[in-house]
């Protein structure tokens, strides 16, 4: 199984191109490392387009809104 960093890097191009997706990172959920997909809003469309698992690593949708320089 490829490392979560490699899987994230390989897939971030198409994921960040999805409408409503702001970014992709690596986070922890219940002790497990997950590929975190940062979205403006959690919509049915992103839920359907981002698979629950990517090459053996779980994904997680998180609402972050629009990120601006502060």
């Amino acid at each position: 199984m490829s490392s979560i960093e490699d899987v994230k890097r390989k897939n971030e191009g198409w994921i960040t191109a999805l409408p409503g997706v702001v970014g992709v990172g690596i986070a922890k959920k219940a002790g497990t490392r997950v590929i975190q997909v940062l979205v403006k809003e959690i919509t049915r469309e992103v839920r359907e387009k981002v698979p629950a698992m990517l090459e053996g690593h779980p994904t997680d949708l998180v609402k972050v809104g629009e990120i601006r320089r502060l």
């Binding site: 960093e5 994230k8 971030e12 960040t16 702001v22 970014g23 992709v24 990172g25 690596i26 986070a27 922890k28 490392r33 975190q36 940062l38 609402k63 972050v64 809104g65 629009e66 990120i67 601006r68 320089r69 502060l70």
Partner: protein, 310 residues
């Protein structure tokens, strides 16, 4: 029952304003007196009462007998109203938004055409000392020229070039719109070395650096939300960030989530993010009401070849 006369009595015994030979005494908790409808359980009644305005309502038993407000004055009921202290409308800004010499990291700063951001840290490169913050704070999103005046406090906080210029723009990492970025960073040379100090306000001296890790507890001191604590929620983040001319893509960033009230707000850009033992881990530059985004410290150090002044 004469409310007006009873009020004169209150003015004499609580505020020290005596007429008609009344004895003048002063109650330190009382800010003023007036006449209004008595409020019981937050509902105004039809009964008129002497209102006594106090800084803070305290149970009578916690007060010295001479400081208690009687339930009646000359047969008129009293009503204690908590008002705080009254002041004229102008509020004195916090130290973070004022002119400070020597300026400590954490306070308001900015390019003369930028609203305001945060003086992140004092850094060193080949024996020279610089003020570090973001490109969008010190270099106006690539628009600034080397030598441009840097104001402390920033323009939004009343900084003026003739009076408050603390440094000159020295160098910045260009923000690319056609490629990915790892840092939003710039440095400025202090005009007078003694006008800046290496301490971060309410944090202290920076002691080396560390790599960000998920769940790491971190702090920052910044112009808008001042001293806050948070936790790193994600690393290896690739994301797009909205600037004045559109989106800019960053890689290798990390996210911080704050406690109640969040970790950052507009104007905190440029704040240094440190561990509880004051190791530099990142440079704050972006966020939303839900999260905060920071450059990894090692990328900032590499891009500008700087080290924090210990």
């Amino acid at each position: 029952m004469d409310l007006s006369h009873a009020k004169l009595r209150c003015e004499a015994s609580f505020l020290g304003i005596a007429v008609d030979g009344m004895k003048a005494t002063h109650n330190p908790n009382v800010q003023g007196v007036g006449i209004g409808y008595k409020v019981v359980h937050r509902i105004p009644t039809k009964e008129r009462a002497l209102q006594v305005y106090v800084n803070r309502k305290v149970h009578p038993r916690l007060l010295a007998p001479e400081d208690r407000i009687p339930e009646e004055v000359e047969g008129c009921p009293t009503d204690i109203v908590e008002t705080g202290t009254f002041s004229i409308g102008r509020k004195f800004p916090p130290i973070y938004q004022r002119r400070l010499r020597p300026a400590l990291a954490g306070v308001s700063i900015g390019h003369h055409e930028v609203s305001a951001g945060t003086f992140g840290a004092l850094v060193r490169e080949r024996g020279e000392t610089y003020i570090l913050s973001n490109n969008h704070v010190l270099a106006n999103e690539n628009e600034g020229k080397v030598g441009d005046p840097i104001l402390q406090p920033g323009r939004f906080d009343g900084g003026r070039p003739d009076r408050d210029t603390i440094a000159q723009l020295a160098d910045f990492v260009k923000l690319e719109t056609e490629a990915t970025n790892t840092v939003d960073a710039a440095v400025a040379t202090p005009i007078v070395r003694d006008d800046v100090a290496p301490e971060v306000l309410h944090i202290g001296r920076v002691k080396g650096d560390a790599e960000p890790e998920i769940d790491m507890v971190v702090r920052k001191s910044g112009r808008t939300t001042r001293l806050t604590e948070g936790r790193i929620s994600a690393t290896d983040v690739t994301l797009r960030v909205m600037y004045s001319d559109g989106f800019v893509v960053f890689t290798d960033q990390f996210l911080v989530s704050g406690g109640r009230g969040g970790f950052s707000g507009p104007g905190d850009s440029g704040s240094l993010i440190v561990t509880p033992d004051n190791k530099a881990v990142g440079l704050l530059f972006a966020g939303s009401p839900f999260t905060t985004v920071a450059n990894r410290w090692s990328n900032v150090a590499k891009a500008l070849k700087v080290k924090p002044v210990p």
